[in-house]
Symmetry: C2
Subunit: 428 residues, 2 copies
C-alpha cells in the first residue's frame, strides 16, 4: 500500500488515477465476430463456441429438464442462502416502483410520465472458474419485477457443454426461461442481432472481460442499448479511530481478490489507523486462497491521510468510487454529503460483500469514475419513461398563441400552423 500523508489537493489527480488497464481485446477480431454472427447466425455461434469454449453444441438452449436436474445438484445450504438473498433483492427492487401523477401545467394541458418495461432484455453472465450466480439474481430479479416481456440469459458452457447448477438455480428463481450456452463476444452478438435461436434484445446487461466489454461498446453505437461501461472493481474506505482495523483490512482484501487491477483506497484523518490496517492486511492475506491476486492489487492501492472531513469529502467525491465504506462516528452525516459513489456501506457492520450478495442492493455498479454520471443497476434500468400529454380545446386556446410565437421565432412555420389550425378551428 502506498501511503500519502496530507497531500495538497493539486496532487490528488495523480493519487486517484485508476490503474492503467490494457485491453487484450482486438477491435478487428471483435468486429469480425460481430459481423459474422450478424450474417450467419447460429452457424457462426456454433463455430465460435467450438473455437473458444472447446465444445460442440447442436442446441444452445438449456432445456427445462436440464434446469430441473441441475437444481438437484445444488447444496441445500446454498439453495437456502440464494433464496434469502433473492428475497432481499426482490424487496429492495420492488420498493423502487414509481407512481406517477398527472400534472396540469395549464388549465386543459395535462402532462404525465409512465415507466414502461423494456420489452426484450439480454443478460450476460461470464464464465470462469467460479459461477457468478449472484449476478444472475442482480439482473434477473429486477428484470422480472420491471415486467420485461422476454428475458434471455447467455453464459458460456464448460468443456462438457454444461452450465454450473447454481447459475441455473439462480436463473430459475429469477423467472428466466430462456437460457443459452453461449459465451463471450458471440453471446453479445447473438443478443444484439438475434439469430435463428436467440431473440434480438433491446438492451444488454452484464459484466464480462475486455472482449465482452468491447463488443458491448461496439453494438451500443448502432444496435442495442447496454447497461453501463464496465471496468475493474474499486473500493474506498473512509475510517476514523472508531473503525475496526481488522474489518477494514478484510474489506480491502475482498475487493483486492477480484483481480490484480482492482483498486482499493483507505482515506482517513487518523494516521494510526493506516498502520493498524496495514498490519492486519499482512496477517489476513497470508491465508487467502487468492493471495497472489490480492497482493498485486494491494501493491497498487493507496492509503491517504487528510486533514479533516471536508477534505475527505472532496477527495472521495473527486475519486467517485464504485463502492464506498464509511466507518466513522459521523458516518450518517458523511453519507449525506457524498455526491459521487455507486453504493455506500455505512458503519462497522456493513461489509461491502453484503451488497455483493445479500443485503438487497444491486452489485452491478459503474466503475472508473463513471459514478459521476451513471447509476448502478436498479429497477429503472429495465424500464424507459414515456411522456404523455393531452390538451383540450380550452387548453390549446391558451397554449396555441405561445406555440405560434415560439415556432415563428425558430422559423418553423409548419410547427406554428399545427397549433394555429387547431385553436382557430374548433371541430363542431
Amino acid at each position: 500500500m502506498q501511503i500519502f500523508r496530507n497531500p495538497i489537493n493539486t496532487t490528488w489527480t495523480k493519487i486517484i488515477e485508476r490503474p492503467k488497464t490494457e485491453s487484450s481485446a482486438s477491435k478487428g477480431v471483435v468486429k469480425d465476430i460481430l459481423s459474422n454472427i450478424r450474417k450467419n447466425g447460429d452457424v457462426a455461434v456454433r463455430e465460435y463456441t467450438h473455437r473458444f469454449d472447446k465444445v460442440d453444441m447442436d442446441d444452445f438452449r438449456v432445456s427445462r429438464k436440464e434446469v430441473q436436474s441441475a437444481i438437484k445438484k445444488v447444496a441445500p445450504e446454498l439453495i437456502e442462502a440464494i433464496n434469502i438473498a433473492a428475497d432481499n433483492i426482490r424487496k429492495f427492487h420492488e420498493a423502487q416502483r414509481r407512481f406517477y401523477g398527472i400534472t396540469e401545467t395549464m388549465p386543459g394541458v395535462k402532462c404525465w410520465q409512465k415507466a414502461v418495461p423494456i420489452e426484450k432484455v439480454g443478460l450476460y453472465i461470464p464464465g470462469g472458474s467460479a459461477p457468478l450466480f449472484s449476478t444472475v439474481l442482480m439482473l434477473g430479479i429486477p428484470a422480472h419485477i420491471a415486467g420485461c416481456n422476454e428475458v434471455v440469459l447467455c453464459t458460456p458452457p464448460d468443456k462438457r457443454g454444461n452450465i454450473h447448477p447454481a447459475i441455473l438455480y439462480a436463473a430459475s428463481i429469477s423467472n428466466i426461461k430462456s437460457i443459452y450456452k453461449i459465451g463471450g463476444v458471440q453471446a453479445i452478438a447473438a443478443m444484439a442481432y438475434g439469430t435463428e435461436t436467440v431473440m434480438k434484445a433491446d438492451k444488454i446487461f452484464g459484466p464480462g472481460n475486455s472482449w465482452v466489454t468491447m463488443a458491448k461498446q461496439m453494438i451500443s453505437v448502432e444496435e442495442c442499448a447496454i447497461d453501463m461501461p464496465a471496468g475493474p472493481s474499486e473500493l474506498l474506505v473512509i475510517a476514523d479511530d472508531s473503525a475496526e482495523p481488522a474489518f477494514i483490512a478484510s474489506d480491502l482484501l475482498s475487493q483486492a481478490e477480484h483481480g490484480p487491477d482492482s483498486q482499493v483506497l483507505l482515506v482517513t484523518c487518523h494516521e494510526l489507523i493506516i498502520e493498524k490496517v496495514i498490519t492486519e492486511l499482512e496477517i489476513q492475506i497470508k491465508t487467502l486462497p487468492r493471495a497472489a491476486i490480492a497482493l498485486k492489487a494491494i501493491q497498487n492501492s493507496r492509503a491517504v491521510l487528510l486533514n479533516d472531513e471536508d477534505e475527505i469529502l472532496s477527495f472521495v467525491n473527486q475519486y467517485a468510487p464504485e463502492h464506498l465504506i464509511i466507518a466513522t462516528r459521523t458516518a450518517t452525516n458523511l453519507a449525506d454529503r457524498i455526491i459521487n459513489a455507486g453504493s455506500v456501506f455505512i458503519g462497522n457492520y456493513t461489509p461491502e460483500s453484503a451488497g455483493d450478495y445479500a443485503s438487497g442492493t444491486n452489485h452491478t455498479l459503474p466503475t472508473h469514475g463513471w459514478t459521476r454520471a451513471f447509476s448502478g443497476i436498479n429497477l429503472d434500468s429495465f424500464c424507459k419513461i414515456i411522456s404523455f400529454q393531452e390538451i383540450s380545446f380550452e387548453g390549446i386556446k391558451t397554449l396555441g398563441p405561445i406555440i405560434e410565437t415560439m415556432a415563428e421565432a425558430e422559423e418553423l412555420i409548419a410547427h406554428k400552423r399545427a397549433a394555429s389550425i387547431r385553436f382557430r378551428n374548433e371541430i363542431i
Copy 2:
C-alpha cells in the same frame, strides 16, 4: 406518401425501415479535433472557431453585460411566450422529483436509494439559421431543478461573434451562468476534456449535426456520459374517422419540415382518412416556407392501412416512434397499451408542436427505434441514483452466514471473511 394497404406483418420490417442517413462526418477529422483540443485547449478551440465559424474570438465567454443587452433585443411577445413555456416545463419537471424511503430487507438491514444531481453538465445548442432557444429551456430547466452544480452551455457564434438574443434570454431564465461561443466538435471536445476556460463536464446533453453526434459518441466511450443517441425527427400518427385530416396533415408537415431525412407515418384502419390527409398535405405544403425540405420528407413517408387496433398497436410498438399522435375515439385506451414511444400526444387538440415548445414535456427524445430502450430527457437524466445500506450487529448476525455460503460457492474467500470477521467478533 407511399401507401401500404393491409400489409402482412412479415413485410412490416421493410415498411418501418428508417431512411438511410449517410453521415457526412469523417471519423478521422473528428478524432483529430478531439485530440487537438484535449492537448492544446483554448488555443485549439480558437483555431477551429476561426476555421469553421469564420470568426476570431479572444474570449469565448459570454459576459453578463452581453446577456443583459441581448435580452433587450428580444421582442416582448417572445419574452412572454418563453416565460409561459418555461413555467410549464418547470412545473412538469418539478413534479418528477422522487422521494425515497428506507427498506428494511431484514431486521437490522436497511437499504435505500438517493437521487443525487450530476455535478457538472454541459449543454450543446446547435447554430444554423434559426435559434433553438426552446432546446435551451428543455435542457437548462431540468438541470437547474435537479440541482446540478455547474451548468455550461456551448453554442456557435455567428460571423460577427454573437449569439442570438433569444438563446441568451432562454439561458438566463434557465439559470445558466456559463455560456460559451463555441460550436460543433470543438464544443463537445471542450466540455468533454475541459480547457483553460471551459469546465470539464460529467455528462453532455444536446442535439447536433452528424459531426457533433459522432464527437459525442466518441467521447462517450472514454471520457464523459452523453444524453442519448441522436437522429432525424420522426412522427407517427394513429387516426380513425374521428380525426380531423387537416390537423393530421399539419402535424405530418411539422415533422417533415425538420429535414429531408425526417420520417412521418400515418397508421389507420380507415382508408378514407388516408386520402383526405393526402389532399390536405397537398394544400398545406404549398404555402410553407420550408416546402422543399418538407416535400422530400413527405416523399419518404408512409401511410399504412391496417385491419384493426391490435394490429395498429403491434405495428406502432415495432416501429417505436419518437413522437406519437393518437387521434382516435379510443385514444386513452390505445395510449395505455403503447410500449415503445418517446412522447405521446392524445386527441385532436394535442399537436406535436405543443410538446416541442410549451406543454411542459421535454422535446429531447430518442429516435431511430431507440425508444425501445431509452427514455427522453427528464429530471432523472440530470441525476444518478446512489444506493446505501446500513447493517446493525443484529443484522449481520442473520445476513452473515448467507454471505459466507454464497461467497464460498463463488470461491471468493476474502468476500466471505469480510462477513465472518464481523458477526463472529463483536466490538465491545
